[in-house]
């Protein structure tokens, strides 16, 4: 820096410093597109660390225009008026996102011709986005469409992998809409109610503040690994408030870890607050539509349920009726052992009925999301042992081997339901294996979860193994109840933050595995 004779900075230098260090973006570009200069603030708007970095990548200012024809408009105005005020256009950021820029500039002439222009370069994204977002989300009452429009706007400012709208009700939440952003992530399943307790969403509901998870591979929260596998590496949850109650959240997932710096957070927060009223309307509309759907569903389920029950009842009732009739008519003439045999058929039928009915009831509750889960830290090993012991003592035609490597870490979930999951898998294992074969159960601790596996000797048609976990219409199954066990397992496993899968078929046999989240979570 040049100095005056007395050591003070020269006027030129003072102005130069003013430009360089100004918090306002300043620039100069030439008509042919080359860049004269720009200051640090302008470079930062577009996501570059310094003017040097910007100039290394951008050689023609048209590169940053989302719509290059806008520059032609700009040049026209400059030709005509010699200046522009608040000329807005959308510019590309270094990370692929974009920002709305407003330019106020004056023309520079050389030999009477427009050569260049210089002026201020401001980020007005907030304002533009607010307008856009509010408009887009109010444009539709149907949640999926509204959120999709909103997502389009958001995507340009903050490229994301996944966006979900989640509605909160009491102690549980439900994903209403889930969208994947450009390319990467899968949409998440919607519709099922999940308990808030122990979830990252709960944290946001309690505090009323946004929350960020920088790296889902750390699996701090129950669903983090599910998100990781769906392509979301970091995520933030933004509350929508009605007075001081959090009635919904926008959950935004990005493909890179640590994708939420202060700038991104405040930008999205602004958008989300602009969307709040519209979301309220959408949810109201959605509630009403759901009530109608629900009634239709209930009607259909009632029919299916009754038909299913009737189907399950036929055999047992026929047996009980037939047996009772025989006993009544031939009591005196029947030898005692025969009487006892007949009575035992009645008892078996009654027992079968009880099992069917309990299972039918559970299934209905499960599907409606009404099944209650009592989620807390618990000892998984004890649960596994209890279930395996119970099966081993009542099924003597199989050998049950429980293998737990070492002391298992504390698990997180509902122990009763976890027991039911294993119970169902064992039931299948017995059904599809031969007499005197061995069924092996093992539990292996992984860094962020416990993996439980059930292996039975035998074979399986593994071509359609994804379909194994789907609901089969009960009436199309050979026997009442077959085909539902794995479906029920899946609903239960997923509701507790785990995943379940067909783990392969080898010479050893057929294996199914599922994951259980770890316990000892910090209280949300």
């Amino acid at each position: 820096m040049r100095r005056e004779k007395n050591g003070a900075p020269t006027a030129t230098d003072r102005y130069q410093r003013l430009i360089e260090e100004s918090g306002i973006g300043l620039f100069q570009t030439k008509v042919d597109g080359s860049i004269g200069w720009l200051n640090a603030a302008a470079a930062r708007v577009l996501g570059y660390e310094s003017p040097q970095q910007f100039l290394e990548s951008i050689h023609d200012i048209r590169q940053i225009y989302v719509d290059p024809s806008r520059r032609d408009d700009l040049l026209e105005l400059l030709e005509r008026d010699g200046a522009v005020t608040n000329f807005e256009y959308e510019a590309k950021r270094r990370d692929g996102g974009s920002r709305w820029i407003s330019i106020t500039a004056r023309a520079l002439y050389e030999e009477g011709r427009l050569e260049a222009f210089e002026g201020t370069f401001l980020d007005v994204t907030d304002k533009k986005l607010l307008e856009s977002a509010a408009q887009s989300i109010s444009s539709h009452l149907e949640p999926a469409a509204a959120v999709a429009h909103f997502a389009e706007v958001l995507q340009r400012a903050v490229p994301f992998a996944q966006l979900s709208l989640v509605v909160i009700e009491g102690d549980r939440y439900r994903r209403v809409v889930s969208l994947s952003g450009q390319g990467s992530a899968d949409a998440l399943p919607t519709g099922q109610w999940v308990a808030l307790k122990g979830n990252s969403v709960e944290m946001v509901v309690r505090s009323g503040q946004p929350a960020v998870v920088d790296d889902t591979s750390e699996a701090r929260w129950p669903f983090d690994l599910v998100l990781y596998e769906a392509g979301v590496r970091s995520y933030a949850i933004f509350p929508l408030l009605d007075r001081d109650r959090v009635f919904a959240t926008f959950n935004l997932g990005r493909a890179e870890k640590g994708g939420f710096d202060r700038e991104v957070l405040s930008l999205v927060e602004i958008l989300v607050s602009a969307a709040t009223q519209a979301v309220k309307n959408i949810l109201l509309f959605e509630q009403q539509r759901q009530a109608v759907d629900h009634l239709e569903d209930l009607n259909r389920m009632k029919h299916e349920f009754l038909a299913g029950i009737a189907h399950d009842l036929r055999n047992p009732v026929a047996v009980i009726g037939g047996a009772a009739q025989i006993l009544e008519e031939a009591w005196e003439a029947m030898p005692d052992e025969r009487k006892i045999e007949v009575v035992q058929t009645i008892r078996r039928s009654v027992s079968g009925l009880q099992t069917s009915l309990q299972r039918d009831l559970d299934l209905t509750l499960l599907e409606q999301g009404e099944l209650h889960y009592d989620i807390h830290s618990f000892d998984l090993q004890a649960v596994l042992r209890e279930i395996v012991d119970s099966w081993a003592s009542s099924v003597t035609t199989r050998t049950f081997e429980l293998n737990v490597a070492s002391r298992l870490p504390v698990a997180f979930g509902d122990p009763h339901r976890q027991g039911q999951i294993l119970h169902n898998l064992l039931s299948n294992a017995v059904k599809f294996s031969a007499n005197d074969s061995t069924i092996k159960i093992q539990a292996v601790p992984e860094p962020n979860e416990i993996i439980v596996s059930v292996l039975n000797e035998g074979d399986i048609d593994s071509r359609n193994h994804e379909r194994l976990f789907q609901r089969m219409s009960r009436l199309s199954a050979d026997k009442p109840g077959t085909g539902l066990g794995l479906y029920i397992c899946r609903l239960m496993v997923e509701a507790q933050g785990g995943r379940i899968w067909f783990d392969g078929r080898t010479a050893e046999g057929v294996r199914f595995s599922y994951s259980v989240p770890l316990g000892d979570r910090g209280t949300a």
């Binding site: 055999n315 009732v317 005196e332 039928s349």
Partner: protein, 155 residues
Amino acid sequence: MLKRKRWGKLDPASSFGVDRRGGATKLSKGDDEDSSCRIIIADDADDVRYLLRLVVESHEAYKVVGEARNGREAVDLVATHHPELILLDVSMPVMDGLEAIPVIREASPETKILMISGLDASYVATAARELGANGYVEKGIGRNELIEAISALCP
């Protein structure tokens, strides 16, 4: 007019003895239809087969010669024994009752087929008849009605 049989005294290996209660119909004297009706029972539920056997064998002239747990086994037994009648359940694994009808008719054309259904669907009865079954009863029916239905096919 259907002929009714008396539930006479039977050998110890069979089910039970004389039915002295009301409801038993009287044997018309001189009724000489003692030709044995050999019957096969096909149903996947053990207890249903057990009870059907009790009922069937409480009849002097009826004898169960085999039990099948699915359509495949039913066909094999019919081909081996050529019984006069088969009691055939509709819903069974491997091969269900409806599928088994044409196979049974081919293996043993003289065997009468009495379908026993646990389902309510009306189309099943029609389908069974069209496929060649000789009769159709529902599982909930009483013992007398079952015997009647059998006698209609197995005099």
